[in-house]
């Protein structure tokens, strides 16, 4: 399998943001090579979703593989974030939302069944938000928040998890001397990586990222993208982005949404070099969106 990032410069049009693209590109081949067997983790079948009376998602069907980075792209309002939030039922928090037809299965389990415990689901399907939202606690407490909720009190284990998560999020070297300072004191990019570290501390299988870099500057974006590449070997990652270069750089599969419908879902390389659908082509070549 070809490293997806290698294909990105071609169709991405203006090459103004190519610098970050080359960085992960260097490591990507080894990553891709190391990827173990894949199998679908999330299976979405004919999903309809409503905000009150208006339908936000129409008949979405796609399956997301383990050890892959899957990107959702599309113009704003196309439903990509809504779909992402369906995957760990964060939409439950919004009034008037409901799943119409169809179902979402994670490891074969329909997550909208009444016997599913949404708390357990969210432990297994973590999420990173558009706006980094570290809690106004120390870095250490931010990371251990999820574990403490589960009743883990063993100091040694917590310490170990903090170090592992921060290393996993490539933040350890930067913050190891100030673990007990407020997480709000970090820079924007560090905050977002802290949120990723916090998410991986509870050892999920899937990490959902909702435009994780949209509020970051290019340098911080590059670091987060690098991190996403690193995480791919362990997790199933779904990333929503409105930045096509980013999708091209760091995803394996890309789904293009438009007006609440899934237009095309294919390998990232194909989407950007050889889209099957004219709408996709128009979007990736920057003609609308």
């Amino acid at each position: 399998m070809e490293p997806p990032a290698a294909t990105s410069p071609g169709p991405a049009g203006p090459a103004s943001l190519r610098r970050p693209a080359t960085a992960p590109g260097a490591t990507a081949p080894t990553q891709a090579g190391a990827v173990p067997t894949t199998h679908p983790v999330i299976d979405i079948e004919n999903l309809d979703f409503y905000y009150g009376a208006s339908q936000a998602l129409h008949d979405i069907s796609l399956s997301i593989d383990h050890h892959r980075v899957t990107a959702f792209i599309g113009p704003s309002g196309c439903g990509k974030s809504t779909l992402l939030r369906c995957l760990n039922r964060m939409n439950d928090l919004i009034d008037g939302t409901r799943v119409g037809r169809g179902r979402i299965r994670v490891h074969g389990v329909d997550i909208n069944q009444p016997d599913v415990d949404v708390i357990e689901l969210r432990k297994r399907v973590g999420m990173v938000f558009q706006k980094s939202n570290p809690f106004p606690k120390s870095i250490y407490e931010n990371i251990t928040y999820g574990l403490r909720l589960q009743g883990v009190k063993d100091k040694a284990r917590l310490d170990e998890v903090v170090e592992r998560s921060l290393r996993g999020a490539a933040l350890w070297e930067e913050v190891k001397d100030r673990l007990h300072e407020s997480g709000l004191g970090l820079s924007g990019g560090q905050q977002q990586r802290l949120c990723i570290a916090r998410a991986i501390a509870v050892e999920p299988e899937v990490i959902l990222m909702d435009e994780p870099c949209s509020a970051l500057d290019p340098v911080a974006t590059a670091k987060v993208e690098e991190l996403i590449q690193d995480l791919r070997s362990k997790y199933c990652i779904v990333i929503v982005t409105h930045n096509m270069q980013q999708a091209a750089r760091c995803s394996d599969r890309t789904a293009f949404f438009y007006l609440g419908r899934l237009i095309e879902y294919a390998d990232t390389r194909d989407i950007f070099t050889n889209p099957a659908n004219p709408q996709t082509e128009a979007y990736v070549s920057g003609r609308f969106g």
Partner: protein
């Protein structure tokens, strides 16, 4: 069970179906939610309870008031009051004469330069006339006095009897049969008791005829007075006097057809409260529970307060929001908030100790003599209470109006400036109209705050239960009044639980409660209907 696991079996166990501990079929989280929800309902529960308890304690009033009015009629008090009113009307005419006399004396001493003795001497003829006029009523007055005693006695007898009945009921309830049997209760036979009163009717008729002829003769024979203006007053007096005599046949007819057994309807018990012009309690003759004087008192005090507070509060809000420098804004807002923290009882005390006196002194300065009602002598009156209430209302109005002004989108202001409008034009034509609904509701809420305020009016409104005299124009603002809140605070501590007076106070509270709900509701309606929708 969910559908069978897909062909590509997951590497890790994925057990997201978990049974939570349940209490009564609810998970822990649902229990917690229910607990919080229960607390949210408290406000509804409290409102309901307020309504319920006001009704519970107050509802008995109308029944009791009906009995109260019934006794008034059965014991003949109503009958006597017809006569009393006739006598009182005559007294009013005599007072009119006294007023004319005073004016004449003033005319003599000031304009004609006579001494007081000379002036009095010049009025000898007038005095004789007045003497004759007022003496004419004496027989009627004597009669009223005699009949009053009879009627009072009947009423007392009835009340004593009722007390005994109550005593017996209690004894029976306690199981003391023998004692209960010993309580002697004699039935009050109103028909028989009233016979002496009725028997006086022929005498009254003769008396009335004499009075009528005397007054008619006097009215046709008014003494001459020196000035046309005074003479006109005397002629007016003659007209009034004739009108007065004209009412006599009507009174006689009412007395003749008066039936002590005519029932008092429930609506009469109701309207005598709602439209009653008298609040008279603990009286030896007859208690009246009419809310009108209290309602008018409350409204007048509130209106005076609003008349002062609206310009000040809204003006200050406009100033702070539109004109003031940022530093001023930062300082003024907390200061006005601070004023709202002054407890009302402290303000009331300030009114008694300082403001009442201050305003009275001010009213006596000649420079302010043009103000209606100035100078005045009652230290505690509508004006004093109104001023203090204004100070209470200003922070409410200010804060809410300032919020409303603040909510006007910046874009409106900028657009207006961009069209070359001045600051004043922008403020008055764009900002204020756009926030008008907010300002009006601020005023309404201020009114609600003021009308429900107790301590200030209790201490400073003068506590005289009377409808102010509106004939002198705005001079009524310096009259003392009593208010709905004040009467509850003042009398609640002294009444017997369960008595009609006690229940009447609860009904006043109920009226106050409904009034405040109405004001609040109005304020919300206005805000909701005229809210500017932005974006």
């Amino acid at each position: 069970m969910p559908p069978a696991e897909s062909a590509a079996a997951p590497a890790v166990e994925f057990a997201i179906q978990k049974r939570r501990v349940r209490f009564l079929g609810l998970t822990l989280d649902e229990c917690i939610k229910l607990f919080f929800g229960g607390n949210a309902v408290v406000s509804i529960v409290v409102l309901t309870l307020i309504t319920y308890f006001l009704f519970r304690e107050g509802a008995g009033f109308f029944g009791q008031n009906r009995v109260n009015l019934q006794v008034y009629r059965q014991a003949g008090l109503e009958y006597v009051d017809y006569l009393r009113r006739q006598a009182d009307d005559h007294t009013a005419l005599t007072r009119y004469l006294a007023d004319v006399r005073l004016r004449t004396v003033q005319h003599h001493t000031r304009t004609s330069g006579k001494s007081l003795e000379e002036a009095n001497a010049a009025l000898t003829e007038f005095d004789v006339y007045v003497e004759r006029y007022s003496a004419a009523i004496d027989p009627l007055r004597t009669m009223v006095g005699e009949l009053s005693e009879v009627a009072s006695a009947i009423k007392t007898k009835f009340i004593v009897n009722e007390d005994k009945k109550e005593e017996r009921r209690q004894l029976l309830a306690e199981g003391k049969m023998a004692e209960a049997a010993r309580v002697a209760i004699d039935r009050v036979d109103f028909e028989a008791e009233l016979r002496p009163i009725r028997a006086g009717f022929p005498a009254y008729r003769t008396l009335n005829r004499e009075l009528s002829s005397t007054l008619t003769q006097l009215a046709g024979n008014i003494p001459a007075l020196p000035v046309p203006e005074l003479q006109q007053r005397m002629e007016r007096f003659a007209v009034l006097s004739r009108e007065y005599v004209g009412t006599f046949p009507e009174i006689e007819r009412s007395l003749e057809s008066w039936d002590h057994n005519a029932p008092i309807s429930a609506s009469q018990a109701f309207s005598s409260f709602l439209f009653g012009r008298q609040w008279l309690t603990a009286s030896f003759w007859q208690d009246w529970y009419g809310i009108i004087p209290l309602l008018i008192g409350s409204l007048l005090v509130s209106l005076v307060a609003l008349a002062l507070a609206v310009p000040l509060g809204v003006g200050a809000a406009i100033y702070v929001n539109q004109i003031a420098t940022p530093l001023e804004q930062k300082l003024i807002k907390p200061c006005i908030e601070f004023i709202s923290a002054i407890p009302s009882v402290v303000l009331g005390f300030f009114g008694i100790a300082v403001l009442g006196q201050l305003l009275r002194n001010l009213s006596q300065s000649p420079a302010l003599a043009w103000v209606p009602g100035f100078p005045y002598s009652e230290r505690l009156n509508i004006l004093t209470a109104g001023c203090l209430l204004a100070l209470i209302a200003v922070p409410t109005i200010f804060t809410l109006a300032e919020d409303a002004l603040n909510n006007v989108p910046r874009a409106f202001k900028e657009a207006s400036f961009a069209l070359g409008a001045s600051r004043l034009q922008t403020t008055m034509r764009i900002i204020v109209p756009a926030s008008l609904s907010g300002i009006i509701s601020a005023v309404l809420l201020g009114l609600g705050r003021v009308i429900g305020e107790t301590m200030v009016v209790l201490l400073c409104a003068g506590n005289r239960i009377a409808i102010p005299d509106f004939t002198q124009g705005f001079a009524f603002i310096v009259e003392p009044v009593h208010t709905m809140t004040g009467i509850i605070a003042q009398e609640m501590g002294e009444v017997v639980r369960g008595s009609i007076h006690y229940r009447a106070l609860f009904v006043v509270g109920l009226v106050l409660f409904l009034l405040s709900l109405l004001i609040n509701f109005g304020a919300q309606k206005i805000v909701r209907r005229y809210r500017i929708s932005v974006g």
